[in-house]
Symmetry: C2
Subunit: 306 residues, 2 copies
């Protein structure tokens, strides 16, 4: 398994799926952890197509309770049960999700064979909801017709690279290496201190990814994205539909791109385009006119972090 950070777009349709466009679901692979972000109907079929192992998913993040963002969750959780998963699984999302999902599981007449935990998110303020030694996840309230959050996934600084030549030169014992990768200097038996910079090189870059769907345009949220590398932002409508976007609490191409520009991210991915648009390239062009490094989401697209 490559240690790269990668995003798999399983589905990015809005509202109603079509024959070949699945509703919202993504898998983010970051620091060898796999996170499922939203789980629209058919997400499990799309995961199979992308050859992502169901068992690798360790947490699921649901943005809101519109069906096109979570109606695939009961089926995915049931499949894990049938595949005899034993590892725990955590689902982050609106508080009502637990009763809904467990009601469906009960109707099926079976108790899940794996521990499933629901952790409700807040809609009044951003919150760090997950934090381990290599990454953190923050929920961010968005502005939609029902309570909705976005999620920001941030890698922590990676270890520095140890110079092999230094290990030989200073006869560095193996147990010291982890500390050196974290920035420790070394002290030789002579008492001489060798500064870390002389025995390591800079770490590989750390990435961050923000998922903002569904949401109206909220310029103030840009400040939360200031350190973000790649932003997925919904762009349900074309630029000429600002009023409709505002009414339905969605964003236009220009608004998604403006958010990327304001935040100063490196890359924007637009998705959740209304199924009314056959010519999605035209919407991409609109977004690019404001923020050139924009990518159009497509089912099955695998996006690498450089």
């Amino acid at each position: 398994m490559s240690p790269d950070t990668e995003l798999y777009i399983l589905g990015c349709s809005s509202a109603t799926p079509t024959a070949n466009q699945f509703p919202t679901a993504q898998v983010l692979k970051m620091r060898e952890r796999f996170f499922l972000i939203d789980c629209g109907e058919g997400a499990q079929m799309q995961m199979r197509r992308s050859k992502i192992s169901f068992q690798k998913i360790q947490a699921i993040f649901i943005s809101h309770l519109h069906g096109d963002h979570f109606f695939g969750l009961p089926g995915f959780l049931s499949s894990l049960h049938l595949f005899d998963r034993r590892k725990p699984l955590v689902v982050y999302g609106p508080a009502e999700l637990q009763a809904i999902v467990m009601g469906l599981m009960k109707a099926q007449g079976s108790r899940l064979v794996y521990p499933l935990e629901f952790r409700p998110v807040r809609f009044d303020q951003p919150e760090i909801i997950y934090d381990d030694e290599v990454l953190s996840v923050q929920s961010v309230p968005l502005k939609h017709s029902i309570p909705t959050v976005g999620y920001i996934f941030r890698e922590k600084p990676k270890p520095r690279h140890m110079l092999k030549s230094a290990i030989e030169k200073y006869d560095i014992p193996w147990y010291a290496i982890d500390g050196i990768k974290r920035g420790d200097d070394i002290e030789l038996e002579t008492g001489e201190v060798i500064p870390n910079e002389q025995i390591t090189t800079a770490p590989s870059p750390s990435y961050s990814y923000a998922f903002f769907s569904d949401t109206a345009f909220v310029p103030e949220n840009a400040q939360l994205l200031s350190d973000v590398h790649t932003l997925y932002h919904e762009s349900t409508f074309a630029a000429d539909k600002t009023e409709l976007a505002s009414k339905t609490k969605h964003s236009t191409t220009h608004q998604a791109a403006e958010m990327a520009r304001l935040a100063g991210v490196q890359r924007l991915i637009i998705g959740h385009l209304s199924t009314r648009y056959d010519q999605k390239e035209a919407l991409l062009k609109e977004a690019k006119s404001v923020f050139p490094n924009t990518v159009l989401a497509q089912d099955g697209l695998n996006i690498h972090f450089p």
Copy 2:
């Protein structure tokens, strides 16, 4: 729209879908009515692929509450709402279905724009649950790990064919024709009675279709199928897995075929084959050894009634 009776297999996978096999869902077109039978995850995408109009569905029949038979229902019902359906829709199935589905709709924050009615089925005895001038539907308790019913759709006798030559010969007024097609004789002004057989020919055949999935082998149910033309019977396992089938309350190829043979149906369709079987043709062969006119269900298959 052709008046033919047709069955569309949208999905026929068991338990967990694969990349290219959707869980159970079918559409039966009978006497220009469209019925959705079970609604596994992804049924709405499969309906789009089969080019079946969502709006034409007038009733939905759910066999039981295992996810692979109804987890596509919330998404389908939501899509009808988004498509601004106004016609009423009736869902037949286990009583708990109403609370489950309406809970999901409530979570989405919107009230459906069309009238949706749930009619619970009985698990203690067969019952005619739908009856109109051209067809009837009967629910039949099956034997599975949770309460489950099968459904039998029966066309009533079709109208006799009026002979055009008779209309001219006896100068039959247009308002008499419906009655004649139903079997009325005519009385001429002279008082002479012309028997119906002389002015009509026999009606086109009426068909019937039974959907039995999921179920263990229950030979006594064969008597309920004695007038059935085409039987869809689950056949989750190969013939050598009788014990496993019995334990999980499913059927084998031989049992499905034996049911068709006992009932004396014209045609058997086997489906719901376990995903463990890559070579589904081998299972078809097993069923055919007991009941030759057996068809293997496949996603996207369109089955005509002769």
